[in-house]
Amino acid sequence: MLEPLFPWREMRRMEREMDRMQREMERMFDTFFPRRRRWMEVEFPPLNIWTNNDQAVVTAELPGIQPEELELSVNNDTLILRGKRVANDLPEGARYQRRERFQGEFARSLQLPFAIDADKVEAHYENGVLTITLPRAEADKPKRIAVHAGQSNGKEG
C-alpha cells in the first residue's frame, strides 16, 4: 500500500479543524454568557494580594458575612480562608424575583510568595471587605551577608 510520504497536508487539515472547533466553542460560550459579569468571573470571595519585603496584605470582597463565621489559618506560606454566607430570613409569602448573590460555604487557599509568621497575622473586617495582614517570617527574610576583606590584602603570603 502507498502511505503518504508527507503527512503535512493531513496535519494542516487537522489543524484547521481544531481551529474551527475552538472558534465554535468560543461562540457557544459567548452565547451562554453574553456578558461576563463581575460576580461570575472568579470564585467567591475574590481576593487581591499585595506584598512588600516585610509582609503581605490579602483583601477579600466578602460582603454580608458574620466575622465569627470566618475561619483563617496559616501554614508556612499558605493561607486558608473558610466560611459561609447564609441567606437572610425571608418574610412569609416572599418570593425571589432574582437571585445572583453567592450563598453557601466557601474555601479559598492561597500560596504567598514567602513563609508567614502565623502568630502575627491580623484580620480586619469592614464594609464587607476583609483585610488580612500577614508578616513575613523572620527566618524567611533575606539576610544581608557582610563580606569581610581578607587579611592578605590580595597578596599571597
Binding site: 494580594i49 506584598t51 470582597e61 460582603p63 424575583q97 464587607g128
Partner: protein
Amino acid sequence: MSDESRAIQVQQEQRPAVRESRSRRVFAPAVDIVETNDEILVLADMPGVRQDDLEVILEKNVLTIRGTVQMPHMQEYDLEYAEYEGGDYERVFTLADDIDRDKIEAEMKQGVLHLRLPKAGPARIRRIPVKTS
C-alpha cells in the same frame, strides 16, 4: 428570561454622564430581589461602600442604586495578584409596582445594601372583609 417580565426588571446598565468624567470603572453589583405582597426587598453586594457613599434614586419607576468605593492606600506594596479591581457600583431597575416613596428604607450592612421599597396602596393586595347578614 422569564423573570424580566415580573414586578422588577433589570435594565441594561446605563451609562450616565458621570461615567465619562471619571476614570474609575463602574460595576453592576450582584443582587437578590425578593417580593412580598407589601414590599420589594433588594439586596445588593457592594463591598467597600459605606452608608455615606450610597445613593438611591427613584425617578418615576426607575430605581438607580449607586455606590462609591474608597480604595485602600497601598503605596508601600506591590500588587502581586488580583481577582478584583477597584471601582464603583451602579445598577438601574424598572419597577412595575408603584412604590410608596416616603417609606423607602436603604441601609448598608457590611457591604450589602438592604433596600426596602414598600408598595403604594393600589398595588397592594387588599383583603376585603365580607360580611354576612
